[in-house]
């Protein structure tokens, strides 16, 4: 059983994707044995997040057994606690933030604090990517910014997505040792047996399987989990159980 904590649909402005719509992503899931995915419209990274969330709800609503809707928002067009509550009322099980380069605000901003506090009260995670995909071509968000957010709001689960290089990996492990509310989603991590090293450093309970599809080829992250030198119960936790717990959905 695999629950992809990091899936998208839509377009990528830098090159054409082989799959862009929900049906294409569902076919990818079937092909790679992924039963469930936490999904977000890529429109939310670049364009109107209200429209993106509407698309996400429509798609996930048509496939409630397969797709868990994850919202996104920014300070533009009245993002904040009120909007987040409406998203959760509509079924969102998490919210993605893309500060800095993509959406022009800081994780230290009042907006980020307001959303993160509200997410904790609503029982959903805040997902922050240091890079939305491995081959991002732009400077990543400093990991310390994500740690600072998690440290300021210990009652909110913060999912860290995007780290890869060894310095980032080590910094993430150290941040997770300091912040019990910080989880790690693995889609960008490329190091040799990195999942096993991550589990050794922080345990399996805060590690989430994610593919980054359709930006990434999902087979790579499936292999990363399947061949990680970890115990079967740890593999099950990473591949399925942890995502169910973090997103608050039944297994």
């Amino acid at each position: 059983m695999r629950f992809d904590a990091n899936a998208f649909f839509g377009h990528w402005p830098y090159w054409p994707l082989p799959q862009t719509d929900g049906q294409g992503v569902l076919r990818l899931m079937d092909r790679h044995g992924i039963e469930r995915a936490a999904i977000t419209s890529l429109r939310g990274l670049h364009g109107d997040w209200h429209e993106a969330n509407a698309e996400t709800f429509e798609l996930a609503g048509n496939h409630p057994d397969r797709l868990v809707p994850i919202g996104c928002m920014s300070p533009m067009r009245e993002g904040g606690a009120v909007a987040l509550r409406r998203l959760v009322e509509n079924g969102a099980r998490g919210v993605r933030l893309y500060p800095s380069l993509l959406q022009g605000y800081s994780l230290a901003s009042p907006f980020a604090d307001e959303v993160t506090v509200s997410a904790g009260e609503l029982g959903i995670p805040v997902i922050v990517a240091t890079r939305p995909m491995m081959n991002f071509r732009f400077a990543p968000l400093p990991l310390a910014h994500v740690e600072s957010l998690a440290a300021r709001h210990p009652r909110t689960t913060v999912v860290l997505s995007g780290p890869n290089y060894l310095s980032e990996f080590r910094a993430a492990c150290e941040a997770m040792s300091r912040c019990a509310n910080l989880c790690f989603e693995i889609a960008c991590m490329q190091g040799f047996q990195a999942v096993a090293r991550l589990v050794e450093a922080v345990g399996a309970d805060r590690v989430l399987f994610g593919t980054g599809m359709p930006l990434h080829a999902p087979a790579c992250n499936v292999a990363k989990i399947d061949h990680a030198r970890i115990e079967p119960d740890q593999r099950k936790a990473i591949a399925w159980d942890n995502a169910c717990r973090v997103f608050g959905v039944s297994g």
């Binding site: 090159w15 054409p16 994707l17 082989p18 799959q19 990818l28 790679h32 995909m133 491995m134 081959n135 991002f136 071509r137 890869n164 060894l166 490329q190 190091g191 040799f192 047996q193 990195a194 599809m213 359709p214 930006l215 990434h216 080829a217 999902p218 087979a219 790579c220 992250n221 499936v222 292999a223 990363k224 399947d226 061949h227």
Partner: protein, 248 residues
């Protein structure tokens, strides 16, 4: 037969890797790689001859599994680099050349040409840590050189442009693409196969820097036919160095 055309041996602070031949062979066994092409990181990041000699010693013991690249850390070594290639081929039976470069010491400087010509003269493939734009220049200078563009455009600094890598490879029939890269973009392999064919794409993992399972899955999970996968996973590099495999 799966052959990994991009593996590192030795100890490097820069890469934060530390692997000897026994460890690399154990990894190859686990993942199912019959042969691995290795470059010594001491030659890559410290002393060329010392590193190549260390690899030569490993080849003496592990020659049934390891295949040696003569490692040339910088083209600025000039004639010494050309001599080193011939020395390592004659003394250790190395079958290819690994050339490194940094954006700060561009490989398009004139001294690279003689090194490429030496490799071409010896019919050795060159795993070149070059950008697509650099490959475009080098292939015009030495079109008979068989260059494997390391990281498939993911150089410098693994922020890749595989679209440009494929575009440049379309212009140069002796330019090949090495799939060892942290780029795991959806559609990357399919795009390359569609544009330049499967026979100029060479499988590599960058072990022990990157995870070989992930790199293998990038090929095995691609939406390309099985014969194309066999070529990429071993047939092409075997053909380049004259091995016989059922995929050639």
């Amino acid at each position: 037969m799966i052959i990994d055309a991009h593996v590192h041996i030795g100890t490097s602070q820069f890469l934060q890797i530390d692997a000897d031949a026994a460890q690399l062979v154990a990894i190859a066994d686990e993942v199912g790689f019959e042969r691995i092409f290795v470059t010594h990181v001491t030659a890559l990041y410290y002393a060329m001859r010392e590193g190549n000699d260390a690899l030569g010693a490993d080849l003496a013991r592990w020659g049934d599994r390891l295949i040696g690249y003569v490692t040339i850390p910088t083209h600025r070594l000039g004639q010494d680099a050309c001599d080193e290639i011939r020395r390592c081929v004659e003394r250790y039976g190395m079958r290819g050349v690994k050339m490194y470069s940094h954006p700060e010491s561009p490989i398009t400087e004139a001294s690279a040409t003689a090194i490429l010509e030496t490799a071409a003269d010896l019919k050795l493939p060159i795993l070149g840590h070059f950008t697509p734009t650099e490959c475009d220049v080098l292939m015009q200078r030495v079109p008979e050189a068989r260059i494997l563009m390391a990281h498939m455009g993911g150089q410098p600094y693994a922020l890749g442009n595989w679209h440009l890598a494929v575009e440049v490879a379309e212009r140069h029939p002796n330019l090949h693409l090495d799939t060892a890269t942290s780029q795991i973009d959806n559609g990357m392999i399919e795009h390359a196969v569609a544009r330049i064919g499967a026979d100029r794409i060479v499988f590599g993992t960058d072990t022990p820097l990157l995870d070989p399972w992930v790199q293998k899955a990038k090929i095995e999970g691609a939406a390309i036919d099985e014969s194309a996968k066999r070529l990429i996973l071993g047939g092409n590099i075997a053909r380049l160095v004259g091995f016989k495999t059922d995929a050639v």
